[in-house]
Protein backbone atom coordinates (compact mmCIF):
# COMPACT_ATOMS: atom_id res chain seq x y z
CA UNK A 1 0.00 0.00 0.00
CA UNK A 2 2.89 2.40 0.63
CA UNK A 3 4.00 1.91 -2.99
CA UNK A 4 0.46 2.68 -4.14
CA UNK A 5 0.31 5.78 -1.95
CA UNK A 6 3.67 6.94 -3.32
CA UNK A 7 2.49 6.33 -6.92
CA UNK A 8 -0.76 8.23 -6.31
CA UNK A 9 1.09 11.09 -4.63
CA UNK A 10 3.69 11.51 -7.39
CA UNK A 11 1.00 11.22 -10.07
CA UNK A 12 -1.18 13.84 -8.36
CA UNK A 13 1.64 16.25 -7.56
CA UNK A 14 3.86 16.10 -10.61
CA UNK A 15 1.97 14.82 -13.67
CA UNK A 16 0.76 18.31 -14.57
CA UNK A 17 4.35 19.40 -15.33
CA UNK A 18 3.93 22.65 -13.41
CA UNK A 19 6.77 21.83 -11.00
CA UNK A 20 9.08 21.19 -13.97
CA UNK A 21 8.04 24.47 -15.62
CA UNK A 22 8.71 26.26 -12.31
CA UNK A 23 12.17 24.74 -11.90
CA UNK A 24 12.98 25.36 -15.58
CA UNK A 25 12.05 29.04 -15.30
CA UNK A 26 13.94 29.30 -12.02
CA UNK A 27 17.10 27.84 -13.57
CA UNK A 28 16.80 30.16 -16.59
CA UNK A 29 16.29 33.06 -14.19
CA UNK A 30 19.34 31.95 -12.20
CA UNK A 31 21.30 32.06 -15.44
CA UNK A 32 20.05 35.58 -16.10
CA UNK A 33 20.78 36.82 -12.57
CA UNK A 34 24.23 38.10 -13.60
CA UNK A 35 22.52 40.45 -16.09
CA UNK A 36 20.26 41.74 -13.30
CA UNK A 37 23.24 42.16 -10.95
CA UNK A 38 25.12 44.12 -13.62
CA UNK A 39 22.05 46.33 -14.03
CA UNK A 40 22.58 47.44 -10.44
CA UNK A 41 20.56 45.03 -8.29
CA UNK A 42 22.85 43.13 -5.91
CA UNK A 43 22.50 39.46 -4.96
CA UNK A 44 20.50 38.06 -3.19
CA UNK A 45 17.86 40.60 -4.25
CA UNK A 46 18.44 39.77 -7.91
CA UNK A 47 17.54 36.16 -7.08
CA UNK A 48 14.41 37.28 -5.21
CA UNK A 49 13.27 39.21 -8.29
CA UNK A 50 13.38 35.89 -10.16
CA UNK A 51 12.11 33.54 -7.45
CA UNK A 52 9.08 35.53 -6.27
CA UNK A 53 7.18 35.90 -9.57
CA UNK A 54 8.08 32.36 -10.64
CA UNK A 55 6.89 31.03 -7.27
CA UNK A 56 3.71 33.09 -7.59
CA UNK A 57 3.10 31.71 -11.07
CA UNK A 58 3.53 28.18 -9.73
CA UNK A 59 0.87 28.69 -7.06
CA UNK A 60 -1.57 30.33 -9.48
CA UNK A 61 -1.20 27.51 -12.02
CA UNK A 62 -1.60 24.84 -9.33
CA UNK A 63 -4.68 26.44 -7.78
CA UNK A 64 -6.54 27.66 -10.86
CA UNK A 65 -5.55 25.18 -13.57
CA UNK A 66 -4.35 21.94 -12.01
CA UNK A 67 -6.59 21.54 -8.97
CA UNK A 68 -9.94 22.09 -10.75
CA UNK A 69 -8.97 19.31 -13.19
CA UNK A 70 -7.54 16.84 -10.69
CA UNK A 71 -9.80 17.37 -7.71
CA UNK A 72 -8.74 17.71 -4.10
CA UNK A 73 -7.02 15.05 -2.00
CA UNK A 74 -6.35 14.96 1.70
CA UNK A 75 -3.20 12.89 2.07
CA UNK A 76 -2.52 10.33 4.76
CA UNK A 77 -0.82 11.24 8.04
CA UNK A 78 2.49 9.71 6.93
CA UNK A 79 2.54 11.95 3.84
CA UNK A 80 1.73 14.99 5.98
CA UNK A 81 4.63 14.04 8.28
CA UNK A 82 6.97 13.81 5.27
CA UNK A 83 5.79 17.24 4.08
CA UNK A 84 6.46 18.64 7.55
CA UNK A 85 9.96 17.15 7.54
CA UNK A 86 10.70 18.65 4.13
CA UNK A 87 9.55 22.07 5.33
CA UNK A 88 11.70 21.76 8.45
CA UNK A 89 14.79 20.89 6.39
CA UNK A 90 14.07 23.75 3.99
CA UNK A 91 13.71 26.22 6.89
CA UNK A 92 16.96 25.04 8.52
CA UNK A 93 18.85 25.35 5.24
CA UNK A 94 17.33 28.79 4.63
CA UNK A 95 18.51 29.90 8.07
CA UNK A 96 22.04 28.59 7.43
CA UNK A 97 22.21 30.24 4.00
CA UNK A 98 20.71 33.44 5.43
CA UNK A 99 23.32 33.61 8.20
CA UNK A 100 26.17 32.97 5.74
CA UNK A 101 24.80 35.64 3.37
CA UNK A 102 24.52 38.10 6.24
CA UNK A 103 28.12 37.40 7.23
CA UNK A 104 29.22 37.99 3.64
CA UNK A 105 27.24 41.19 3.22
CA UNK A 106 28.34 42.61 6.55
CA UNK A 107 31.98 41.66 5.76
CA UNK A 108 32.19 39.87 9.10
CA UNK A 109 35.62 38.64 10.24
CA UNK A 110 34.17 35.17 10.86
CA UNK A 111 33.69 34.84 7.09
CA UNK A 112 37.45 35.15 6.65
CA UNK A 113 37.84 31.81 8.42
CA UNK A 114 34.91 30.22 6.59
CA UNK A 115 35.83 31.49 3.13
CA UNK A 116 38.38 28.69 2.72
CA UNK A 117 35.58 26.11 3.01
CA UNK A 118 33.12 27.88 0.74
CA UNK A 119 34.08 27.19 -2.83
CA UNK A 120 32.28 25.84 -5.92
CA UNK A 121 32.97 22.21 -4.95
CA UNK A 122 31.57 22.47 -1.41
CA UNK A 123 28.63 24.48 -2.73
CA UNK A 124 28.01 21.70 -5.30
CA UNK A 125 27.96 19.00 -2.61
CA UNK A 126 25.80 21.11 -0.30
CA UNK A 127 23.19 21.78 -2.98
CA UNK A 128 23.16 18.19 -4.25
CA UNK A 129 22.88 16.76 -0.73
CA UNK A 130 20.09 19.16 0.21
CA UNK A 131 18.02 18.58 -2.94
CA UNK A 132 18.62 14.82 -2.84
CA UNK A 133 17.35 14.67 0.74
CA UNK A 134 14.21 16.56 -0.27
CA UNK A 135 13.77 14.39 -3.37
CA UNK A 136 14.08 11.19 -1.32
CA UNK A 137 11.68 12.27 1.42
CA UNK A 138 9.15 13.82 -0.95
CA UNK A 139 9.34 11.10 -3.66
CA UNK A 140 10.11 13.73 -6.30
CA UNK A 141 12.68 11.90 -8.44
CA UNK A 142 13.28 14.71 -10.93
CA UNK A 143 14.58 16.86 -8.06
CA UNK A 144 17.75 14.74 -8.05
CA UNK A 145 18.46 16.01 -11.58
CA UNK A 146 17.47 19.56 -10.67
CA UNK A 147 19.87 19.47 -7.73
CA UNK A 148 22.66 18.25 -10.00
CA UNK A 149 21.83 21.00 -12.52
CA UNK A 150 21.96 23.78 -9.90
CA UNK A 151 24.96 22.32 -8.07
CA UNK A 152 27.03 21.77 -11.20
CA UNK A 153 25.95 25.12 -12.68
CA UNK A 154 27.96 27.08 -10.11
CA UNK A 155 31.39 25.54 -10.77
CA UNK A 156 30.58 25.47 -14.50
CA UNK A 157 29.78 29.19 -14.48
CA UNK A 158 33.02 29.87 -12.58
CA UNK A 159 34.97 27.83 -15.14
CA UNK A 160 33.34 29.59 -18.13
CA UNK A 161 33.60 33.13 -16.70
CA UNK A 162 37.17 33.92 -17.86
CA UNK A 163 36.23 32.94 -21.44
CA UNK A 164 32.64 34.19 -21.76
CA UNK A 165 32.31 36.81 -19.05
CA UNK A 166 30.04 36.48 -16.00
CA UNK A 167 26.77 37.26 -17.85
CA UNK A 168 27.02 34.62 -20.56
CA UNK A 169 28.79 32.06 -18.35
CA UNK A 170 25.86 32.03 -15.93
CA UNK A 171 23.28 31.93 -18.71
CA UNK A 172 24.99 28.99 -20.40
CA UNK A 173 25.68 27.08 -17.15
CA UNK A 174 22.09 27.28 -15.87
CA UNK A 175 20.06 28.32 -18.88
CA UNK A 176 20.53 25.14 -20.91
CA UNK A 177 19.35 22.87 -18.08
CA UNK A 178 16.54 25.29 -17.36
CA UNK A 179 15.41 25.38 -20.97
CA UNK A 180 15.36 21.57 -21.20
CA UNK A 181 13.43 21.33 -17.93
CA UNK A 182 10.99 24.05 -19.03
CA UNK A 183 10.30 22.33 -22.37
CA UNK A 184 9.75 18.98 -20.65
CA UNK A 185 7.39 20.61 -18.15
CA UNK A 186 5.52 22.34 -20.97
CA UNK A 187 5.09 19.02 -22.80
CA UNK A 188 3.69 17.41 -19.61
CA UNK A 189 1.43 20.42 -19.02
CA UNK A 190 -0.09 20.35 -22.52
CA UNK A 191 -0.59 16.57 -22.26
CA UNK A 192 -2.19 17.08 -18.85
CA UNK A 193 -4.63 19.69 -20.20
CA UNK A 194 -5.62 17.36 -23.06
CA UNK A 195 -6.06 14.31 -20.78
CA UNK A 196 -7.90 16.17 -18.01
CA UNK A 197 -10.56 18.52 -19.35
CA UNK A 198 -12.57 20.58 -16.88
CA UNK A 199 -15.43 18.47 -15.61
CA UNK A 200 -18.23 19.40 -13.23
CA UNK A 201 -18.59 16.45 -10.90
CA UNK A 202 -21.80 15.17 -9.37
CA UNK A 203 -22.71 12.14 -7.35
Amino acid sequence: MSKLEKKLFTSYSFKDGISDIFWGLFLIGLGCSAFITNAGIERPFSLLIIALPVGGLFLVFKYYISRPRLGVIKFSKSRKRKRGLVLLIAVIVQIIVGVLLWLVLSKNEAMENLSGFINPVTIFFFIVLFTSAIAYIYDYNRLYLIGLAIGSGIPLAEALEPTLGSNWAGLLAFGIYGFIMFCFGLYLFVKFLMDNPLNEQTV
Binding site: L4, R69, L70, G71, V72, K74, S76, T202
Partner: protein, 82 residues
Protein backbone atom coordinates in the same frame (compact mmCIF):
# COMPACT_ATOMS: atom_id res chain seq x y z
CA UNK B 1 -11.45 -2.76 -5.38
CA UNK B 2 -9.77 0.16 -7.18
CA UNK B 3 -11.88 2.66 -5.22
CA UNK B 4 -11.05 1.03 -1.89
CA UNK B 5 -7.33 0.83 -2.78
CA UNK B 6 -7.19 4.58 -3.34
CA UNK B 7 -9.27 5.41 -0.28
CA UNK B 8 -7.13 3.11 1.87
CA UNK B 9 -3.97 4.99 0.80
CA UNK B 10 -5.50 8.47 1.25
CA UNK B 11 -7.32 10.27 4.04
CA UNK B 12 -10.09 11.73 1.87
CA UNK B 13 -10.48 12.31 -1.88
CA UNK B 14 -12.76 14.29 -4.12
CA UNK B 15 -15.19 12.48 -6.44
CA UNK B 16 -13.52 14.16 -9.43
CA UNK B 17 -10.12 12.70 -8.48
CA UNK B 18 -11.54 9.17 -8.21
CA UNK B 19 -13.23 9.54 -11.57
CA UNK B 20 -9.99 10.64 -13.28
CA UNK B 21 -7.81 8.09 -11.52
CA UNK B 22 -10.00 5.04 -12.09
CA UNK B 23 -11.29 6.11 -15.50
CA UNK B 24 -15.00 5.52 -14.91
CA UNK B 25 -17.84 7.76 -16.05
CA UNK B 26 -19.72 9.85 -13.48
CA UNK B 27 -22.76 7.56 -13.53
CA UNK B 28 -20.72 4.37 -13.29
CA UNK B 29 -18.62 5.66 -10.38
CA UNK B 30 -21.71 7.01 -8.63
CA UNK B 31 -23.33 3.57 -8.62
CA UNK B 32 -20.20 1.95 -7.14
CA UNK B 33 -19.96 4.72 -4.52
CA UNK B 34 -23.61 4.17 -3.56
CA UNK B 35 -23.05 0.43 -3.07
CA UNK B 36 -19.96 1.01 -0.92
CA UNK B 37 -21.79 3.63 1.11
CA UNK B 38 -24.73 1.27 1.68
CA UNK B 39 -22.27 -1.36 2.94
CA UNK B 40 -20.84 1.33 5.28
CA UNK B 41 -17.36 0.93 3.81
CA UNK B 42 -17.14 4.59 2.83
CA UNK B 43 -18.64 7.88 3.89
CA UNK B 44 -19.67 10.59 1.39
CA UNK B 45 -19.47 14.24 2.38
CA UNK B 46 -21.01 16.96 0.24
CA UNK B 47 -19.75 20.51 0.81
CA UNK B 48 -19.40 23.81 -0.99
CA UNK B 49 -16.12 25.53 -1.78
CA UNK B 50 -17.22 29.03 -2.65
CA UNK B 51 -20.24 28.46 -4.86
CA UNK B 52 -19.03 25.12 -6.24
CA UNK B 53 -20.30 21.82 -4.85
CA UNK B 54 -17.61 19.36 -3.87
CA UNK B 55 -18.10 15.72 -2.96
CA UNK B 56 -15.50 14.08 -0.77
CA UNK B 57 -15.23 10.37 -0.13
CA UNK B 58 -13.37 8.67 2.69
CA UNK B 59 -13.06 5.08 3.83
CA UNK B 60 -14.64 4.22 7.19
CA UNK B 61 -12.78 2.21 9.81
CA UNK B 62 -14.92 -0.79 8.91
CA UNK B 63 -14.09 -0.28 5.25
CA UNK B 64 -10.34 -0.12 5.97
CA UNK B 65 -10.44 -3.24 8.14
CA UNK B 66 -12.48 -5.12 5.57
CA UNK B 67 -10.13 -4.10 2.75
CA UNK B 68 -7.05 -5.00 4.79
CA UNK B 69 -8.56 -8.42 5.59
CA UNK B 70 -9.40 -8.96 1.93
CA UNK B 71 -5.84 -8.09 0.86
CA UNK B 72 -4.44 -10.43 3.51
CA UNK B 73 -6.63 -13.31 2.27
CA UNK B 74 -5.65 -12.56 -1.33
CA UNK B 75 -1.94 -12.61 -0.44
CA UNK B 76 -2.34 -15.97 1.33
CA UNK B 77 -4.10 -17.47 -1.67
CA UNK B 78 -1.37 -16.20 -4.00
CA UNK B 79 1.34 -17.60 -1.70
CA UNK B 80 -0.33 -21.01 -1.60
CA UNK B 81 -0.65 -21.08 -5.40
CA UNK B 82 2.94 -19.94 -6.02
Amino acid sequence: MAIMSILYAMDKVEFLYLMNEIGLTQGNLSSHITKLETAKYIVVEKTFVGKRPKTFIAATEAGRLSFKSYMKDLNEILKSVI
